[in-house]
């Protein structure tokens, strides 16, 4: 199903090949503006308990900090 649908979508998207774009620069963002900076100051991060509460598996050792747990990666 996906193969057929994606094929149809790509065939439709192929219309863009008809457009002459020689010498046209690409646009990544519609409104040309520089990203805003903010002062480089330390601010409170998200509460660790609130963040870890959403993790499928986590650990909060007594020694401090917290971890997201994943299946064993290194044998």
């Amino acid at each position: 199903m996906f193969a057929r649908q994606l094929g149809a979508i790509l065939a439709y998207a192929d219309q863009v090949q008809q457009v002459d774009t020689s010498g046209v620069p690409p646009t990544a963002y519609g409104v040309g503006q520089h990203s805003a900076d903010r002062p480089d100051e330390v601010v409170l991060s998200l509460p660790i308990d609130g963040v870890l509460a959403n993790a499928p598996e986590s650990d909060r050792p007594r020694t401090g900090g917290g971890f997201f747990k994943v299946p064993r990666v290194i044998g």
Binding site: V19, P26, Y29, R38
Partner: protein
Amino acid sequence: MNRPATLAETRDAVISGARSAVEVCRDVLARIEAADPSLHAFHTVTADRALARAAEIDRNRDAFRSAPLAGVPVGLKDNICTNGVRTTASSRILESFVPPYDATVVTRLHAAGAILVGKTNCDEFAMGSSTENSAYGPSRNPWALDRIPGGSSGGSAVAVSAGMTPLSLGSETGGSIRQPAAMCGVFGLKPTYGRVSRYGLLAFGSSLDQIGPVTRTARDAAIALGVVAGADPADSTASRQPVPDYASALNGDTRGLRIGVPSRLLETGVNADILRAVRTAIEVLRARGATVVDIELPHAKYAIPVYYLVATAEASSNLARYDGVRYGLRDRQGELDAMYSGTREKGFGAEVKRRIMLGTYVLSAGYYDSYYLKAQQVRTLILRDYAQAFEQVDVVAMPTSPTPPFKIGERVSDPLQMYLADIFTVSANLAGIPAVSVPCGFTGEGLPIGLQLTGQAFDEATLLRTADAYERDTEWWKQAPPIATR
């Protein structure tokens, strides 16, 4: 009054003491309880929290005397993070996700006196034009329960249309506020890219996404935009351009306004009733002193393919974060790789998978130049079309949607047909410019029609002034579906 109260009316009643915030909130919760089982606008209703906040506003009435949204109940699209309130993006993968923080727009609404009453249904991760891609079932159009409300912010539009809340926030990547607003007969605004902070909005297409209001009137949208717009240290794409007083720009004056109509673009594929209603709406503005000019947008016909190449590429990158590690669903079988793929297989719906695959494909080494880069170049030409148009005109007018809302289930098996629903809306997202949809009539079958007005970057004021002027001469905005007043 046989229509639901506007945002401004609701707020004024709370500030004057004619109604308490608690009374307003109770009414809204009762309306949701009565109407939502047949409409499914909401995923989550925060009744207790809302009533507690309303009581707080009533107790501190003096502190909210000049609050722009004092006591105004609001529904938020369920892809906007709310501290302590489940935020699913209508996806199984985030079924039990409870954000530990508020999106910036939520913080700003709260400070302005608004009361969060619930989280609204949408297409999964805002990918869709009908809410049929919601993992929790579609919303229904209040004007015809067997039809789609539009999407992706369908629940937000249904909530306002059915008189459940006077204000909702939605989000747009390719028309997801304007299109459902048009299909539900309410007002929708997509602000300029960067006008509103996206901190706390679950990302879909980062060069396109914007948050905006759904309301009953242009004035209400002006008030809401004034609250949520502005720079934000938590979002580097939020612009530092000063936020004007949008509501004070609504002076009813459209003399000398130049309206461009891309007639050639509208020659084919537009429903006859919609075309007639939009032409009549433009005549209303002409009668108010506007001049109407025919314009060309030669590359607008490529907007859909460009959009689906760019947006899917960005989505494939943004959605990589849903991998079963830090939040959301995890498939617990097997090793790490199997966990990733099992989680995505079980957690994402079909449309999200399609877009991730498409986006990954168009970004892959062999196809990057011919699809992604090419699309970005055509995007430049679409931008130039608008830049050229705005040398001659102040706003561009056309229908919001080429068709009225279709029947639920009619297009689900044909994603490409579904994409074509966005043909008149995606250009504004690609160009980063603001646009509104204002109710301008009904089809012969009684289905709502929206007039779309597009303007120059950061010139929301002109769009809102034009739409407000139009509302002064028409009654369409006062129409409400039977379910809203029952």
